[in-house]
Symmetry: D2
């Protein structure tokens, strides 16, 4: 069923090891930028194989697998993200997570591999083990980037700031993949924009506190922020070309402690999704324009803006996307490789490629065998549970197929 060179195929022991690794990682998720145990575990696997590697960006790990027989061959990078989420797992799996950890603000929360990054780690590691074991079927160098902190858009940035591409060989292409509620054995590879840019910020509106019976002594920040929320709707409805994608979500609104006190301030937090940088600039500019003007309309001081995160573009180079799609079609079957419209979700993988201006190909792979795999509890849901065997089978084969498109002999 597979077209991979025989030496790269899994035997029973390798498959058992892959499954065991997954169960271990799934049971031990860690929060973004706190992936200390995960990083140490990855390092142990690499040390066992004697593959050169280094820490990067705190809890990131980079493995440089050079084919000893053909060290001067092509260089390709493969990225796997490693962090979990503050979600209380409700999958009922025997290897479900019971982990708890502290958010940056000190709050203790449950932790879950709720976005399937454990499948990413294990798929990448399995590909690495197979390539390590079979130098005769490939050439050159594969740089495996185990990246922390994808969920907060902090990890790619941290690795770049820590000199990732000064310390690892510069690849000609960066590959990566993400598990999704799709049929096992199938992948999505969309040329061009694959996911949305996402920009998050908090805005604090400053009013003047007063007793609830004396509004004339106040500048009411709740009324101000409410006008901002209603005003922001006009950005998507009126300022963006109706054929372009843009989302402005106000996800939090917090103000006040007592119903009879007009509070001194109100804070909202926003999340913006766009595909193109032009639309992104227009939307972010409009948000600031509206927030400032509404504060003026209330006679209030200028609001305070605080950037929370910024997910970059996730752009698949069309030529490389076609090349990788071809390799995946060969391995997974013609009908199992499609190119749907871009997702409105976001990823920071693009930053790793854009930082050194190399092309990227990022695809989504399936993990479910039921009748309607797209309707299972999805990523970030407490019940998100990729089916172990088919998920990892799809994940490691897609990784190997994609890599061989560049380093195959």
């Amino acid at each position: 069923m597979t077209t991979l060179p025989a030496p790269l195929r899994l035997n029973d022991a390798a498959r058992a090891r892959m499954h065991e690794d997954y169960r271990h990682l799934h049971a031990h998720p860690e929060l973004s930028m706190q992936e200390h145990e995960t990083a140490a575990w990855i390092e142990r696997q690499l040390a066992e194989l004697d593959v050169p590697h280094f820490r990067c960006g705190g809890t990131g790990v980079v493995a440089v697998l050079t084919n000893p027989e053909t060290p001067d061959g092509p260089v390709v990078a493969f990225r796997a993200d490693t962090d979990g989420l503050p979600i209380a797992e409700q999958t009922g799996l025997e290897y479900a997570s019971a982990a708890r950890s502290a958010l940056p603000d000190g709050t203790q929360v449950p932790v879950m591999h709720g976005c399937g990054h454990d499948t990413h780690i294990v798929s990448a590691l399995t590909a690495l083990r197979r390539l390590h074991a079979a130098p005769q079927v490939w050439q050159g160098t594969v740089v495996f980037v185990f990246q922390p902190g994808e969920e907060t858009a902090a990890g790619a940035r941290a690795m770049l700031d820590d000199g990732l591409w000064d310390r690892a060989p510069r690849p000609q292409v960066l590959l990566g993949q993400h598990v999704m509620p799709l049929a096992a054995g199938s992948v999505f590879v969309t040329p061009g924009t694959a996911m949305a840019r996402a920009d998050s910020q908090a805005i604090t509106f400053h009013g003047v506190q007063a007793h609830g019976s004396q509004p004339q002594a106040s500048i009411d920040p709740i009324l101000l922020a409410s006008h901002v929320v209603t005003r922001l709707q006009g950005i998507v409805s009126r300022e963006v070309d109706p054929r372009d994608m843009a989302v402005v979500t106000v996800g939090t609104f917090h103000a006040g402690v007592k119903e009879n006190i007009i509070p001194a301030s109100a804070e909202i937090a926003l999340n913006v999704r766009t595909y193109s940088s032009e639309v992104r600039e227009r939307v972010l500019g409009a948000i600031e324009r509206i927030a400032r003007a509404e504060a003026e309309a209330s006679g209030a001081p200028a609001p305070t803006f605080r950037r929370l995160s910024s997910f970059p573009r996730c752009h698949n180079d069309p030529e490389h996307a076609e090349a990788v799609a071809g390799a995946l079609r060969a391995e997974l079957g013609e009908q199992n490789v499609t190119a749907p419209a871009p997702f409105t979700g976001s990823e920071d993988v693009g930053a790793l490629a854009d930082a050194i201006e190399v092309p990227m190909v990022y695809w989504f792979f399936g993990a479910f065998t039921g009748d309607d795999p797209e309707s299972v509890p999805g990523n970030h849901h407490p019940g998100f549970a990729p089916e172990l065997a088919p998920a990892l089978d799809t994940g490691h084969r897609a990784a190997l197929a994609g890599l061989l498109a560049y380093v195959g002999r």
Copy 2:
């Protein structure tokens, strides 16, 4: 039933003349600042009596009635306004108006004495005739001010600009009265604030026109002006002391000619009511602040403001109000003179007194004999119909009683 000196009381002929005058005027109303026939008619009455008089402010007439026996006595002014309204009369009266005339913009409209200014003219004229006929019972000078254009706040201004108080003797007090849906024989005299200030303006919001399918090419002035309308509510609800009176009414909103074209502009017209100058300043300032800031929130140019009218304060000097109330109580009965809370309606009579800093007393008199005189169709209603005999009886007696408080012997 009356306590007026016998020579001032009406005989049958005088009463018949009063009623006839009223029927004539009621049937021939004229629009604000177009009271040409009315002014000429008043002039004819004055000429008949040989009372000195002069035109002032276009269609205003001033009569100076000096007692020949006591020319150096007190000077008091009495104001009666003379204009009708663009309303189609629906009273069914035999002397109902069928008049039509042109508004300043050229539109032909029906005209009606819909605010009862005809009762004001006739009451004042009857008082003048009685005083003229009986110099033995009074002293000094009464300046009768027949003022045009009250409804548009243009008339008092026009008379002042035309040198009213340079041409007429300066009075020690200004009196005036207005007919209302109250019981005939009763009056309201409220010390201090008696009516509201009223300020009207139009605001034009400038956007950018575009086809309805291309909002991104527009700046939508309808959305902008709609946000202004909702934003303006916060002035009364949050910026004014809840115990103070303030009204911000947006009475017109006009924009666009076709549903699939985003128009280039939107215009709203506002009317503001306040009692105190502090609240007035605060409200007008907030309107401008909000209109400008909302234009900025839309990325639009600054709006254009156009003042429509400004009705001044209507303030009864407390001491004089008490003096006049005493005289009215003597004439009309103790229980028929009350001092309710100020009205939220407006008048420009106050400008005549404030211009020369003399005290004013302005009262409301009743004109109805039914069980519930306050529930008849009121001023500005197409069916507003003061009952001829009781209205004029109350009006001319109240005028004489108020005047005698100053010029009685």
Copy 3:
């Protein structure tokens, strides 16, 4: 300087005791409905005097002081409230509070007599001691009601529910007083409405949660609640007679935990102030109408309403108010007793009188000697510090003068 009968005047020892009591109570404030130590302390003072008393409403204490010589004389009630506030005192006084306590939800907070109820307790107790010591100058019975939980509108209700007027003699009038930032030696007694009704409620809007990138899968409760907040402004600005008093304050708005998740619900808490029951009904009805309709406009389920508190009317019987004002004028001086417009703040004292339909007189007394006593840090401010000697001197004299208007000989 006082006109009180000589036996009621304080000697040095009594004055020292009054001051000492105040310092003790001020240093030991307790939260609403938790006034256990305060109640016990009051009971000890009453026991010391052998005055009959009983617990009522948990932490309320009622003392029934009957003149042994004239037990059948008039019966009058005097109410003093006893609770402190969750405020961190910043007066710098040597007897400042360092108390902390737990709110009903378990949060530990600092506690302060930030509304001056300690002056109420001590003024009442001092009056009780003087009357107890001098039965020869008065007659009948005074019921002293030491009421807990005024700040949350729970205390009057609790005492009534605990049978207050079944257990205490029914008075012919209920008196009470409140310290304010006014000149010591002066009082405000306003006939009719003296303070506002206040009604508080929380409203939860139910939406549908979704990822921030998928608004189409959500019903956005933040947008819904924001439209409600802006919509509510129209109640005061458009639905209430501009001459009536009404305030609708949204004091809290809480929704969401993360900027990229559209939350499942949003909660706002509102405080309404009105003088008349008609306006109150209209405003509360409009709030519910708007909240329900806006939920429908969002396609959301009906919101959930939760009543937080309801402060009743605070209505001074005009005749009794004049009688008490006369007594206060005699004691404090003509110019020191005025009748300003009603306050927009609220009180639950009215419930005690309205429950048995007896007239009430409630006044405000001053406590400051500086040039501008109305500009000191006011009630509920961390720096609110009535001046000990002049505040208590005014408070106990006003209490005695008011009481003697009914029970004096």
Copy 4:
């Protein structure tokens, strides 16, 4: 340069006739559903050729051109719309229109062929003449549909209601084309959705009239409609998948005659653009839901909805679009036939095909030779001026090429 069979190519006389026809029609535009002279002119051309034809839908004309040699061949329909617009032409052309006519409401307005329908008529007529002249190069039947009233979405409906497809042979495909600001010699053919659906409606909100000083006696329809306008923004911003196209434009807002009168009603008119019927249903449903609920939020009666127009889908059958595109590529050159994203503008041509469930292909053809043909004054602009010779050359060749894809030998 052309690949058309030689007998179909224009000689100088035919080209001169084509130009002359165009100049005549351009100078004599008529408003929608008033195309009486235009219809008569078309009929005269057809009569001259003895081509069977009939009136349909008032001012529509249908010509049935059957090849006498091969009457049983394929049947294809070609639609050309014929109406002008109420625009004052500002092209400066020697054959510019000076026409004026009356709108349905009686208003006299200037009329212009501002959307280029004159090029459609002449291109179709030229194709008809060439096919009529050269029966040897084609087979079957072409039904030429000269449709009135496209601009108001009334014309297709009127022809269908008048039995179009009962009276004309049923075609296997419907073709049509529209001139656009594109390079002459180029066309756009987009498979699937080619233009947006458009639905227009007016909504009247009913309030209660009152004097501007008495908002409490009113239900303010301007405030109500303003809340609706702001509320409607949430449909596109929150209720539609961000990747779907939807526009909700409020193009007019009219209420009130005087700033100090709160009017009895407010009317807005909306235009909705969507591609898919699911999104259309969702948006139209949300508009009604919001309008009704906001009226309830104001305590107002239900609003009145009035449908203005409804442009159907404009869907190009993908297989036929590819077939036609192939024919156009052969005639115009590979690089001159592209398939851009759908337009957000609208057309009623789709109704003609959907009524009998036959596939449609509708394309856009260019008419400008300058450097930047897409930046000239566009359709509906007073300066829209297709370049006569290149526009008609492109138009009639595209029509013939498209038709020959079906009826060619």
